[in-house]
């Protein structure tokens, strides 16, 4: 089965997908949050009838449109990249993974596409209430789109509601509701969309801060900050709650990811949390080195977060790789052996079916069924291959948490000083507000690095490693498209930033 795979191109395919995803994620969170903020602004306009709120709405809407277009452009690449670069994946799990993508198209994209035009060009063509409805529908459509793609992503992290069909050598859906309501899908959706709301709130605060620093559009800026800081703060609280839930589900369904996030090599009872630490780059699984050069540890907290029990055991990388009989954890080496048995049984089954030898086919099938939960492990060369890049996961996780905490503080401060009408005097805070835009993007990207790098080497957790999921392409082909994508996306990003800056510089004049 693996003879067609050119292993040297797998990392280029990974890099290309990561590149597309990270570019896409520059634009999507702003769309998710700004769509709601614009809907809030317009609702206030409709409620009060104050034309200043309309001017404000139209200004933020114009920024929304610039960002939205490039989000669409990078989004289509992502959808089709599953086919172009991960064709084995598309076949082996398309029966399950394709459904949420199609549902996304039917239920979300058409809402966005239809109401986007009404929202932008319908001011004088439809009634005020219809226009407001359209604006809300753009927000709903954007976030529904996030729901379905995150359901798909959640299924990759926790494959549920399916079975393996040996005749076709693919996974097939058996329970749509299990896929839709998988705990990982739910926590992914809530955490990710709420983080998008935070980012958009920071964006509005940052741009408004710049106006205040320049002494322009003071009323518009203060009104925008008040709404955005409130929305951001509420969203931030929800991000913290859903993040805790995400860590809890990781502990139970992706323990290796949690171990990498914490650089936890040897599990214990209780296990402490490391809010800050510097890793020893020479540390490898199985050696006796201390993973940390420097660390600050809070005892017991990781056990509490992972299991809701202060004295519970949290497995480390070594426990998961080399096994821990006391805690009933199977060694990865054993899983690899059983995975190889499953792969061989699958080949035997197909051969026997082809030869018309039904008893042999049934015997092979029984062996396959007994070992199929480890199918993906059979493609790993050695137990250590099951460990994701620890340092990148560890530091990204801390960056996300630290930046998220700073952003929460920013919301509180902006809310307080705007509420007490002293915001214009707090120039340090206004500068921090502008800077926070970059911090929010860093936090957001870091979050996805944790989620995706932390689950390597799996395309589908435990069932399909990326090395088997990719397309039968040469490394040169993928390299070429990688650099083409890089050039195109970078050019478009520069164009977008320039247009946004110019639009902000121009301000709401004319709106």
């Amino acid at each position: 089965m693996l003879e067609q795979i050119d292993f040297t191109q797998v990392n280029w395919a990974r890099a290309q997908f990561a590149l597309t995803a990270m570019f896409h994620w520059i634009f999507v969170p702003l769309t998710l949050g700004l769509s709601f903020l614009v809907a809030f602004f317009e609702s206030i306009y409709v409620k009060t009838g104050n034309p200043e709120w309309k001017r404000l709405t139209r200004f933020w809407m114009s920024l929304f449109a610039i960002n939205f277009a490039i989000g669409v452009a990078t989004g289509i690449i992502m959808e089709f990249e599953f086919g172009t670069n991960w064709s084995n994946y598309s076949w082996m799990v398309g029966d399950i993974f394709g459904a949420p993508l199609a549902v996304e198209g039917i239920f979300a994209f058409f809402i966005e596409a239809t109401f986007f035009a009404v929202m932008f060009f319908g001011w004088d063509r439809v009634s005020q209430k219809t226009h407001l409805f359209a604006t809300w529908m753009v927000a709903v459509g954007s976030n529904l789109s996030a729901l379905w793609i995150l359901v798909a992503n959640g299924w990759m992290q926790l494959p549920v509601g399916m079975t393996f069909n040996p005749d076709l050598a693919r996974f097939e859906m058996t329970n749509f509701w299990a896929v839709l309501f998988s705990p990982v899908a739910i926590s992914k959706f809530t955490h990710t969309t709420a983080s998008g709301f935070m980012l958009a709130s920071v964006f509005v605060i940052g741009v408004s801060s710049w106006f205040l620093l320049k002494g322009r559009h003071l009323q518009l800026a203060k009104r925008s900050i008040l709404v955005a800081a409130t929305f951001g703060l509420l969203s931030g609280l929800f991000v913290a709650f859903s993040g805790d839930e995400a860590a809890f589900t990781n502990a139970h369904h992706q323990p290796m990811k949690l171990a990498a996030m914490e650089s936890l090599y040897n599990g214990g009872v209780p296990t402490g949390l490391i809010p800050f630490g510097i890793l020893d780059p020479a540390k490898r699984p199985g050696d006796s080195k201390d993973p940390f050069l420097v660390k600050v540890e809070v005892p017991g907290v990781l056990s509490l977060l992972a299991n809701r029990i202060l004295t519970s055991f949290v497995p480390g990388i070594n426990d998961l790789v080399y096994g821990n009989p006391e805690q009933n954890i199977l060694a990865t080496g054993v899983k690899i052996e059983r995975g190889r048995i499953a792969i061989a049984a699958l080949a035997d089954y197909k051969e026997a079916r082809q030869a018309g030898d039904e008893p042999a086919a049934q015997s092979a099938l029984a062996t396959l069924r007994a070992n199929q939960e480890f199918l993906g492990y059979g493609y790993l060369d050695r137990p250590e291959d099951a460990v994701p890049p620890v340092a990148l996961t560890f530091y990204s996780f801390r960056a996300m948490i630290a930046l998220g905490t700073i952003l929460m503080l920013v919301f509180v401060l902006f809310l307080y000083f705007t509420w007490t009408d002293r915001i214009s005097q707090q120039r340090w805070l206004l500068r921090l507000g502008v800077l926070s835009i970059f911090l929010a993007y860093l936090a957001s990207e870091a979050g996805w690095i944790v989620a995706e790098v932390g689950r390597q080497p799996w395309a589908i957790q435990n069932l399909l490693p990326v090395t088997v999921a990719n397309s039968n392409l040469t490394a040169g082909t993928v390299q070429t498209t990688f650099f083409l994508f890089l050039a195109i996306f970078t050019t478009l990003l520069i164009a977008e930033i320039r247009i946004l800056l110019k639009q902000i510089q121009t301000g709401p004049e004319g709106h």
Binding site: M1, R58, S62, A65, A69, I70, G75, I77, E79, F80, F82, G83, T84, N85, W86, S87, S90, W91, G94, D95, I96, G98, A99, L101, A102, E104, G105, I106, F107, F109, A113, T114, F115, F116, A117, F121, G122, D124, R125, V126, T130, A134, L168, R170, M173, F176, K350, S471, N472, L473, L484, I488, T491, A495, R498, I499, Q503, T506, G510, H511
Partner: protein, 378 residues
């Protein structure tokens, strides 16, 4: 209820649904057609503004329909998705590039500090409408002419041509289909602009463009139809599933499925009627005939490719690797779930139609554009 249907019935239903989405995309390529008229139809910047802001308010529907077409094929026929996209790599990548260019161009083309200048973004729009559609036509053409690939026992694809899909653009039938799509889209674009814009000069030129582009499309259409009824096709044995070349297969399909022949003829007649009405009878409503006509022609083409024991994505180098709606489809359960989801499609079409009508109740004029905020215009 839907779950009671046999797998083969669900597979036929989903080929119909995917065909319908694909055909709706073809109808909506009036946007692409309009984009290729950008450099020839308008005589001034104001007229160009009018044209772009007319078709620009519909580009997302076309784009979304294409994405849904991809999503529907992924969900219903994942083996096609894996085989074609992973195999014919370059043709799909180039198509995608042209759509990336389209997605940003409307929003960015007139914005100050847009880095590349208005003309560059207009060229992106032109490339999307010309090269993009040509390649889509070439890719769809392989549904009839076949591609060089093989699948192993695990259904993993090996593409056997070094051009990885671009070779489709060197086959006369595929090229003719692609060029027909390009000129047909220009017919649709002209008809749409004629209906949507109120401007004497532009309207007059649209009427001419409708006719000229039909004449340009006609040789390619005739070639495609001629080849279609004379070329060998990829027949599937309904009992064994084995694939073989059959002389006149698509002609046989047409004769065996008179409804499809009817769709094709009625569709073509509607398009021709729309052109005649637009060019010679002073009508501005031709798009409402040509649009549905295009959908009917599209449905007929997809039906010829997929129904009546035909391999819809044939392999010319390894016949038994060819994809049929039966061996490429999702499971019974997934097709059932997706069928329930598809029940929402009429509702989606209804609200699109309602808001389309609401927005286009008045034709677009220069005076209206001047009344709108210049920041918001494309």
């Amino acid at each position: 209820m839907i779950g009671q249907l046999a797998l083969s019935q669900l597979q036929q239903l989903w080929w119909l649904i995917a065909s319908l989405v694909g055909s709706l995309f073809l109808m909506l390529t009036f946007v692409q057609g309009g984009q290729t008229l950008l450099f020839t139809l308008p005589r001034s910047d104001q007229e160009r503004l009018l044209l772009v802001n007319s078709i620009g308010r519909k580009w997302e529907l076309t784009f979304t329909t294409l994405v849904l077409f991809g999503g529907a094929l992924f969900a219903a026929f994942p083996l096609f998705y894996a085989t074609s996209f992973g195999g014919a790599y370059w043709v799909w990548i180039l198509i995608l590039f042209t759509f990336v260019g389209q997605a940003v161009s409307y929003e960015y083309r007139r914005k100050p500090a847009n880095l590349l200048g208005t003309r560059s973004f207009d060229i992106f729009l032109f490339l999307n409408g010309s090269v993009g559609l040509l390649l889509i036509g070439a890719a769809v053409g392989t549904f009839f002419t076949g591609s060089s690939f093989s699948l192993n026992g695990y259904n993993l694809v090996t593409w056997q041509h070094p051009l990885r899909g671009l070779e489709a653009a060197f086959n006369p039938f595929n090229v003719a289909l692609g060029l027909f799509l390009v000129f047909h889209a220009r017919v649709l674009g002209s008809l749409y602009l004629l209906n949507n814009i109120e401007h004497d000069g532009l309207n007059q030129r649209c009427r001419q463009a409708v006719f000229v582009n039909l004449l340009l499309a006609l040789p390619f259409l005739l070639f495609v139809l001629f080849r279609l009824v004379t070329m060998p096709g990829y027949a599937v044995d309904p009992v064994t599933g084995s694939v073989s070349l059959e002389a006149g297969k698509y002609l046989h399909n047409l004769l065996a499925m008179p409804a499809v022949l009817g769709l094709l003829l009625v569709g073509l007649l509607l398009v021709v009627w729309a052109v005649v009405a637009g060019r010679f009878l002073g009508s501005r409503r031709g798009i409402w005939f040509a649009g549905p006509g295009t959908v009917l022609v599209g449905l007929a083409l997809f039906a010829l490719a997929g129904y009546h024991d035909t391999a819809f994505y044939p392999s010319s180098s390894d016949l038994q690797s060819s994809l049929t709606i039966h061996n490429a489809s999702s499971s019974h359960y997934t097709l059932t779930v997706m069928s329930y989801v598809a029940l929402a499609v009429p509702f989606v079409l209804a609200y699109i139609a309602y808001f389309w009508r609401l927005m286009d109740a008045r034709s677009l004029t220069l005076e209206q554009l001047e009344g709108e905020h210049s920041h918001d215009l494309y």
